[in-house]
Amino acid sequence: MVRELIEAIGEQAVVWHDEDLLVYEYDGTIDRGNPDVIALPKTTDDVVNLIRIANRYDAPVTPRGAGTGLSGGALAAKGGVIIGMNRMSTILDLDVENKTALVQPGVVNLDLGAEAERHGLAYAPDPSSQRACTIGGNVAENAGGPHTLAWGTTTNHVLALELVTADGEVQWIGHETRDEPGYDLVGCVVGSEGTVGIVTQVLVRLVPRPTAVRTMLAVYDSVRQASDAVSAVVASGIVPAALEMIDKMTIAAVEPVLNTGFPLDAEAVLLVEVDGPESQVEAEGARVEGILNRFEPREVRSATDPEERETLWAGRKGAIGALGQIMPNYYLLDGVVPRTTLPDVLDGVYEIAERYRLPVANMFHAGDGNLHPCLLFDEREPGATERVLDAGGEIMRLCVDAGGAITGEHGVGLEKRDYLPWIFTEDDMDTMKSLRAAFGPTENFNPCKIFPKGHGCGEAGHQHAQHQIAKFGPKAFV
């Protein structure tokens, strides 16, 4: 197969030596997968050829962008071919009047943002990994980000896409007008985590760049005060562009390296941003500030210049990586809960972490109720990984019990497939599987992702999750 792949796209585009494959065994999570070969196409035709070759050898196909994902989506769980889309990285067209951009999937999120900015536009979804993550990966995972509170996640910004299906057919789905008659097939592909095909072109919606922005930092002495403030802001009817919470442990990691100005002894800080036309920003900013002040903050201050704003955001967006300063490994969770339950769920998260003797850092999209507890550990310590996974399971369970779900934006992937039965019945999952099958013979497409178990996925990976399920009862559906 390797020989055929090389014949199809050239030697420079195929990685197959053992030592090189090592580099492709991980993404941003703690899971690993061992691919047999990596293929790096440059055109849609290349992708078609690669898929046909893989099909002939009945090899699993795993699409990969920049490998920054946080649910194991880009890992070759069953070996086979990883199709790395990073070399298809051209912005093909930017239509200023219609506010759209046609891009290849390997375009880096921030590069698209920068190009749009030159035309007074913006690409709204801004995951924390936006400096490196690709639009293709964003589409697969339906990526979010702090600024999706007002603008919606990736699915709200994809108008149409070119998909190479599992049998190697090229299909255009969607239309440049906002509202296409018929089923929302684009919506099915966005967030499908690479299980229905490979996206080779994306037509995205751009939004006007706000003329004014105000970023506020509010410092609180308790997480509860901060989360009450979040609820109050949202209840007021104002939709801030972003509403983020960062807790003490995160501040301890971020502050020494990034010098963001978050006070080290605060229990929680909120980062609130309002944007839009000048007058609106002024009015809403003042109202938000008033609300934040009601919950006895130690301080509320506004970033006065773009640089200061950038620094505050660097503290938020660099938070995950900075945790490496405290412990060598982290397990980043992604749960979503009804916003009103935030204070209680957070208390629960801290309680669970304490019980498992694990430091926990929280930095998350409070406005969306999208939690990101981050458990810190050292994988070299015997039993630590198991403890972390157990604690992670409990936290997920907590979110589900609060009426939430097991992922807000990172996807289910490999990591949380065993929790899927907590929120869906067998029937639900069968329906999803038949939708997947409607896209063609997809069983080799990113196998072992989203759905529990799956044929031939082996027991090795997520026994811990099985053991979680055993712990919480076999039919723990909500």
Partner: protein, 451 residues
């Protein structure tokens, strides 16, 4: 598929104390934020040539999971060591240090081809450490250039056909500029006003021969601002190129000589050890780390490193009088990697430039992306270097700049080669320059107006 890495199969492969530190390797959480910042990942589009990938390879070696094959070595060799990944890294993985450690091991284990090792011994150990031999080489180069031989060689294209690699080196070779800078020249410049500080200038290996004017400008600018600059006569090359290449033994020898030259065992240390070359500056600041296990020098090295200041950094630190001479010119500033990424100095050079009346700073899209010079990289990995340069020139020429300003001799040479190759409209006639030279020019123009 497994949760953690498989257990090691063989013993670790490191031979020396300079090996990459396992704890520092462990800081990488493979988030991938570094990928897009890396010029070689950008160019080659494969993760084995990304910072995250190279760290995985180092870890693979450390765990004994992979063998140190020529293939692995190539991924290490292709790293520019620009350290843009360190700026992007939220975990602050000291990638530059890890790569130098890996190269030190590669050097000790003789992972390079024989010929390359031989050339290294001849040039890097045989010439660079000796100022007199360097000067001799400078005269040789001058003769080659003045005699018209270089012109003929380039014109005929003979070298390109016979030895294309040599032709590339020829294109990048600095033009030797007489009169060369001599360390005693520093004494000539009269000080203005009271002495505010005393600084010792690191004159380096190539700068006195190829960029003597930058040194003269440095001395004049600081003298005008009340800083007495001297240049210890016994100093040698700083050893940055040696350390980047993995020849830590030579790097340590040079570091010890310089510590002896600049801080002879007395309490009378200069207020600052000044350097106007970014690559050297970042290495000088690492002397403490380089000699950490040397019982005799460890402390002195740390004290030395603590006093090292880049010229822009020091100018802003001590404060400089605003220049008066107008320079009506648009320049673009290329952040030298070892100034921005390695030393975190981005604002001071721009502050210096903005202080000059009439001068406009036109920023490029990615001023802190490497130009491909990277010390010896432009010679050793010329193909990648040329592509990185092409992209840089594209960025440069999309600004309205008439001149490039940067902070390192390697960058100046590379960008000058870029101008010769890509500036078809001949917009950038003057060679690239150093901010300190522009500041000096403005001071002197101001004096002329006064006179």
């Amino acid at each position: 598929m497994s949760i953690s890495a498989p257990p090691p199969t063989t013993e670790p492969l490191w031979l020396t104390e300079d090996r990459p530190d396992a704890g520092e390797l462990g800081l990488c959480v493979h988030c991938g934020f570094c990928l897009n910042a890396c010029p070689t990942y950008h160019d080659l589009g494969v993760e084995t040539d990304s910072p995250r990938g190279r760290i995985a390879l180092m870890r693979g070696l450390d765990d004994g999971r992979i063998a140190w094959s020529p293939r692995v070595q190539r991924h290490f060799d292709q790293c520019l060591q620009c350290r843009a990944c360190e700026t992007a890294c939220p975990s602050k993985v000291p990638y530059g240090r890890l790569m130098e450690a890996t190269r030190a091991e590669a050097f000790a284990q003789q992972k390079w081809p024989r010929r390359q090792r031989l050339i290294w011994r001849l040039v890097m150990r045989g010439v660079f450490p000796y100022p007199r031999r360097l000067r001799l080489a400078g005269y040789g180069l001058k003769l080659y250039q003045r005699s018209g031989l270089q012109f003929l060689v380039r014109r005929s294209g003979l070298l390109k056909r016979l030895a294309p690699r040599l032709a590339e080196i020829d294109a990048l070779s600095p033009s030797a500029r007489r009169p060369f800078f001599a360390n005693r020249d520093t004494a000539r410049e009269p000080l203005r006003g009271a002495v505010r500080a005393r600084a010792a200038l690191v004159t380096g290996c190539m700068m006195p021969l190829a960029f003597p004017e930058t040194h003269r400008a440095t001395v004049r600018v600081f003298a005008r601002n009340g800083v007495a600059v001297s240049a210890p006569g016994a100093q040698v090359c700083c050893g940055a190129l040696h350390a980047h290449g993995g020849d830590v033994e030579a790097a340590r020898l040079l570091a010890r000589s310089n510590i002896d030259a600049f801080t002879p065992e007395s309490d009378d240390l200069p207020d600052a050890i000044l350097i106007n070359a970014a690559g050297c500056g970042s290495h000088l600041k690492e002397y403490g780390h380089l000699l950490r296990n040397d019982p005799e020098y460890a402390q002195r090295a740390a004290a030395f490193a603590a006093r090292v200041r880049d010229v822009h950094e020091y100018l802003v630190e001590v404060g400089f009088s605003p220049p008066a001479g107008r320079i009506e010119r648009t320049v673009t500033y290329q952040d030298s990697c070892h100034l921005s990424h390695a030393q975190g100095i981005r604002k001071p050079p721009r502050e210096v430039l903005r202080s000059i009346p009439g001068l406009t700073l036109s920023e490029m899209r990615t001023p802190d992306r490497c130009c491909g010079s990277a010390g010896l990289y432009s010679v050793v990995q010329s193909e990648i270097s040329q592509r990185v340069l092409a992209e840089k020139m594209d960025d440069v020429l999309s600004t309205s700049a008439e001149q490039i300003c940067t902070a390192n001799p390697g960058c100046m040479l590379q960008l000058d080669a870029g101008i010769a190759q890509y500036d078809r409209q001949g917009r950038m006639m003057p060679r690239s320059t150093h901010a300190i030279e522009l500041l000096d020019e403005s001071y002197r123009l101001g004096d002329e107006v006064d006179a």
